[in-house]
């Protein structure tokens, strides 16, 4: 200390200057205090809200959709628990690195993950979540959970997966669900204004009953409030370190269940029969009161694939398939009914007294109208036939003559009241009405006068007339019930979660055509009885076109038909249909009800490109009706079997052969 020469007074020089420092320090303290006052006291609650918004994330709890059950409570569409991997682009730290880690676990290409995230970030913004993969396996969930903490932006979420136990069977009827598209969002919110509210990422019904029942089965989504850190990772609110009055979650409320009129057993029997024969086309089975028992369309698709993000490859296969797997062919396609139309023409002819049930008509192999030849399906013709024979053997020439005698207006009036050319009124969307032409229709749609010759083609179900399978089933059912036109329906009841019935549909007779209809025509009981007998012979008579497909103990009544896919010259009509390329082959129809007297069930099959109504469609109709009787009236079948045993000794059962039924 001694070697430092200090001058005790020299520091006094500075004494006057300390006040500046005091002023600076005090001013700073005051300014900072004021600023803190402003931030913490004046803006405090507002900024507290901002900080809360930072950490509280609203997560939607999707409501489980209601189940679809069959008439006996068996499940047709159900829900399964599952997991999905979700990405939030905003929280991703290193996209490339993350993609490389995730790709092998999820079995995806790292590049594809990167592109998806980048595209979503660009299109939907950084906070919109991306469903990377749905329906994760246990193994995937386990492996993802291990890397979850080191992978900001990744989330493994519990979900409900819509499950369709019947898979392809009836897929067009039940429909499918998938994520709402950007285009649909505003449209649906407009459509369901005040009832349902849709948001991006919602799963909605896209077709069939899933779409139709959206309002009923959707339920109410819940909200869960979770705490996240700055990297989007969920941080438990139970962590004692963190404050937070946990905001009460709002539970999701389950959608209502729908009980359908479908009978799962019959649905499955129909599908087995149809697919065993490798048919394409459609099947519908309806109880005589209008309850749909089975409904399918083939080829089909697996709606389970849609529920778990369908691949674009599968999708393009589906929409480019020439046989239209997405189309509900029961109501969304119409075709020439071919010979299945003949019983309807017969009703008109009998009712208009153009023929009586005993009157014989000469039906040669070729019928000339003007100069033009109209062919029967059999070169030699049928000879003299009455109306029963004409229906049983499907005589073209007989019906040509009926067509001429009736004229298009009469045919139109009688056949319209059976429902042909109108929507049947079933609950499903996109039903086509079909066409039942008359001269006014032709003028309006084709701009031409009706030609006399067109009466002939109309009378055998070709030409302009087009019907859906559902319409033919309704028309035949009307014949079976002697005039009662029913409304088909597939939704029986809507039940809430407690099982309370919210809505119920009952059988409905739209009109009884034995009474005079607004267009001035009616069809009498007697007329129906004659035509029914003709149809009974189709299935049971010695020359009936569908006689090879019988059910022990139950008599069916029906009519086969062939819908020409293309117009062929006479040579081609007689040539072997099966030798043509499949897309050029005719469609086969068979519609039948059973029992032939007081029927309980009507079944229609459209077997596209199967060439014949009998071999193509009739066995399936038989199988479906048999399944119905086996389930609901097994005693009838048993008795029939007993009776057959005694008969069998006398005559061997003939082998079925494809017939050129005039169709």
């Amino acid at each position: 200390m001694a070697d430092y020469v200090s001058n005790p007074d020299e520091s006094k020089e500075y004494w006057g200057r300390y006040k500046y420092i005091y002023v600076l320090v005090v001013t700073t303290f005051l300014v900072f205090s004021l600023r803190l006052w402003y931030l913490q006291i004046i803006s405090g609650s507002e900024l507290r809200d901002f900080s809360e918004k930072n950490r509280i994330k609203q997560v939607k709890i999707p409501a489980p959709r209601g189940l679809l059950l069959d008439r006996h409570g068996k499940s047709l569409v159900q829900n399964l628990p599952g997991f999905e991997a979700i990405l939030t682009p905003q929280y991703i730290v290193n996209l490339d690195e993350m993609a490389v880690r995730l790709a092998p676990i999820l079995g995806m290409e790292p590049d594809k993950i990167v592109t998806r995230v980048q595209r979503s970030r660009r299109v939907n913004g950084p906070f919109a979540t991306i469903r990377l993969k749905e329906n994760l396996t246990r193994e995937e969930v386990f492996r993802l959970k291990r890397i979850n903490l080191d992978t900001p932006g990744l989330e493994i979420r519990e979900t409900i997966i819509r499950h369709y136990p019947l898979k392809q069977n009836g897929a067009q009827l039940f429909g499918y669900v998938s994520e709402i598209s950007k285009k649909q969002l505003p449209l649906l919110n407009e459509l369901y204004k005040g009832v349902l509210k849709f948001e991006q990422g919602d799963i909605i019904g896209k077709s069939g009953l899933e779409e139709n029942l959206e309002r009923e089965v959707r339920g109410q989504d819940g909200v869960s409030f979770i705490q996240v850190d700055a990297h989007g990772r969920e941080t438990s609110l139970r962590n004692p370190n963190i404050i937070g009055d946990k905001i009460t979650d709002q539970d999701a409320s389950h959608g209502n269940n729908a009980v359908l009129t479908i009978d799962r057993d019959i649905q499955e029997a129909a599908h087995k029969s149809f697919t065993d024969l490798k048919r394409i086309g459609a099947v519908v089975a309806m109880k005589s009161n209008g309850e749909i028992l089975a409904w399918l369309s083939e080829p089909s698709f697996d709606p389970n694939e849609f529920a778990t993000a369908i691949s674009s490859q599968t999708w393009s296969t589906l929409i480019n398939d020439p046989f239209k797997p997405l189309r509900n062919k029961v109501i969304q396609d119409h075709h020439s009914p071919g010979s299945t139309f003949k019983p309807l023409v017969a009703l008109a002819a009998l009712e208009e007294k153009k023929i009586t049930d005993t009157q014989m008509v000469y039906a040669p192999g070729v019928f000339y109208f003007g100069r033009r030849p109209y062919h029967d399906h059999q070169r030699g013709g049928q000879g003299y036939v009455n109306v029963y024979d004409a229906i049983e053997r499907s005589s073209n020439v007989f019906f040509y003559q009926m067509g001429i005698k009736l004229g298009i207006e009469k045919m139109h009036d009688y056949i319209s009241i059976l429902g042909v050319g109108q929507k049947t009124g079933i609950e499903l969307a996109r039903e086509v009405p079909g066409i039942m032409p008359n001269s006014a229709w032709k003028k309006q749609n084709r701009g031409e006068e009706w030609q006399e010759g067109e009466n002939l083609s109309t009378a055998i179900g070709q030409g302009f007339v087009n019907t859906t399978l559902m319409q033919m089933v309704i028309a035949y059912n009307t014949i079976g019930l002697s005039g009662k036109v029913v409304r088909p329906y597939v939704i029986q009841k809507i039940l809430d979660q407690e099982g309370k019935v919210l809505k119920e549909n009952f059988p409905q007779v739209l009109r009884d055509v034995t009474q005079v209809q607004p267009n001035g025509v009616k069809i009498s009981d007697r007329t129906f009885a004659v035509v029914r007998e003709g149809m009974r012979r189709v299935a049971n008579g010695d020359r009936g076109t569908a006689r090879f497909w019988k059910i022990p103990g139950v008599e069916m009544a029906g009519k086969t038909g062939t819908s020409q896919v293309m117009n062929f010259s006479a040579d081609q009509i007689y040539s072997n249909c099966m030798s043509k390329p499949i897309h050029m082959r005719h469609h086969g129809w068979y519609v039948a009800f059973a029992p032939a007297i007081n029927p309980e069930i009507t079944v229609g099959v459209l077997a596209e490109h199967s060439c014949h109504g009998n071999t193509g469609a009739a066995p399936i109709v038989r199988d479906v009706i048999q399944a119905y009787f086996q389930k609901y009236h097994p005693e009838v079948i048993e008795e029939g079997l007993k009776a057959m045993k005694t008969k069998k000794a006398k005559a061997p059962v003939p082998e079925p052969v494809p017939l050129l039924d005039g169709e």
Partner: protein, 374 residues
């Protein structure tokens, strides 16, 4: 002999400025409590060990404090050129071989300790400026250009080297600290006017040619953080939410969601005050800057009572060191100043800052310790 020793011990204890020690201890305790919270979030295992490190730095800091208290600060006036020279070498080394972090070269890595020479340069400069300035302005008329040349050169060399790293925050600190000391020593009025003119001309030029884009962004963001809340404005905005959401009493120890859930960036270093404000509210925030004010008043009293100009200037220098750090750091955290990477002395995590601060305070204590010796 016995008597003299006991007397000496008695005086030793008595001569210590216990007020300043208690205030520093209070700030240390606040700092540790707060640092514990900042490093023990639910997802921040990787920073938990920093709390123990800080305790080690604190113990080392207090050792340095007492050693420098007992040493006569006059020694400093003899070795300050050497300290300055070696510190310059260290900065030069960093400029060319240092660790790159956040786009700048700032550290020499010793394994257990990352030495940041620009941090110690602040103190080296305080010592050197105290020595140089104490010999100037003997007439009391204020320094003229000739007297200013030497101190200015001594400041500008480290300034330029630190700007090169680039570390704008530290460079500005060096200017602020030495500027304060020069102004305190008194400068002729026309030179001050001239300097102001010169600075207002050179600022736009510096903006255009010297500042890096990230530095410009920080200033622009400060002016309007809402413009880009997710990128450059993020820090400023999150800090404002943290401070404001603390309200009057705060959210409570380890209950600040902004810090615990990592919405606050750099929460154990530059934004430590946000953590404090969020968890302890207006009460805690005011208490802390109040303690700093008391510390400044105590240092001012020591400067006032210093036995010589050198001692007074050391006290004023260290005061301006702590003051400007607090000013810039808290100003930034509460949204009054742009985001600049400057630690808050005694509260922010960091060895260099802690040791430098404690050494500075130790020198002040030494000045205080020796005030009775003349």
């Amino acid at each position: 002999m016995d008597l003299s020793i006991s007397l000496e011990e008695k005086t030793l204890v008595r001569r210590l400025d216990w007020n300043i020690i208690l205030v520093i201890l209070a700030l240390n305790v606040i700092g540790l409590i707060n640092l514990y919270s900042a490093t023990h979030g639910p997802n921040s295992k990787e920073v938990e060990s920093l709390f123990i490190n800080q305790i080690v730095w604190l113990i080392s800091g207090w050792s340095i404090f007492f050693i420098s208290t007992l040493l006569d600060y006059a020694i400093v006036s003899r070795i300050c050129y050497i300290i300055y020279f070696f510190n310059l070498l260290a900065i030069l080394y960093v400029d060319f071989f240092g660790k790159i972090a956040l786009g700048a070269q700032r550290w020499i890595d010793f394994g257990f300790f990352r030495y940041q020479p620009s941090e110690t340069m602040k103190l080296a400069l305080i010592m050197l400026m105290a020595k140089v300035l104490s010999q100037r302005n003997s007439m009391g008329q204020g320094m003229g250009i000739r007297e200013l040349i030497a101190p200015l050169i001594l400041v500008l060399i480290p300034f330029a080297l630190i700007m090169k790293q680039p570390d704008l925050g530290t460079a500005m600190m060096i200017i602020a600290i030495s500027g304060s000391m020069i102004l305190f020593t008194k400068v002729k009025k026309h030179i001050i006017v001239g300097a102001i003119v010169l600075i207002s001309i050179s600022l736009p030029i510096a903006w255009e040619y010297i500042l890096h884009d990230y530095q410009k962004n920080r200033v622009l963001t400060f002016l309007s953080p809402e413009n880009d809340p997710r990128k450059t404005g993020y820090n400023a905005l999150q800090s404002r939410y943290a401070v404001g959401s603390g309200q009057f009493f705060g959210k409570g120890f380890r209950k600040g969601t902004q810090s615990q859930l990592e919405f606050l960036p750099e929460r154990h270093t530059d934004f430590i005050y946000s953590v404090l404000s969020e968890e302890h509210g207006f009460v805690g925030s005011i208490t802390t800057i109040g303690l700093f004010c008391i510390l400044f008043f105590l240092v001012l009293r020591i400067a006032y009572q210093a036995r010589d100009k050198f001692g007074a200037l050391i006290a004023v220098g260290v005061l301006s060191y702590i003051f400007w750090h607090m000013f810039v750091n808290v100003g930034m955290v509460i949204g009054l100043l742009p985001i600049v990477g400057v630690p808050l002395p005694l509260l922010s995590y960091g060895g260099s800052s802690m040791l430098t601060t404690m050494l500075g305070l130790g020198l002040i204590s030494s000045v205080s310790f020796r005030r009775y010796l003349f």
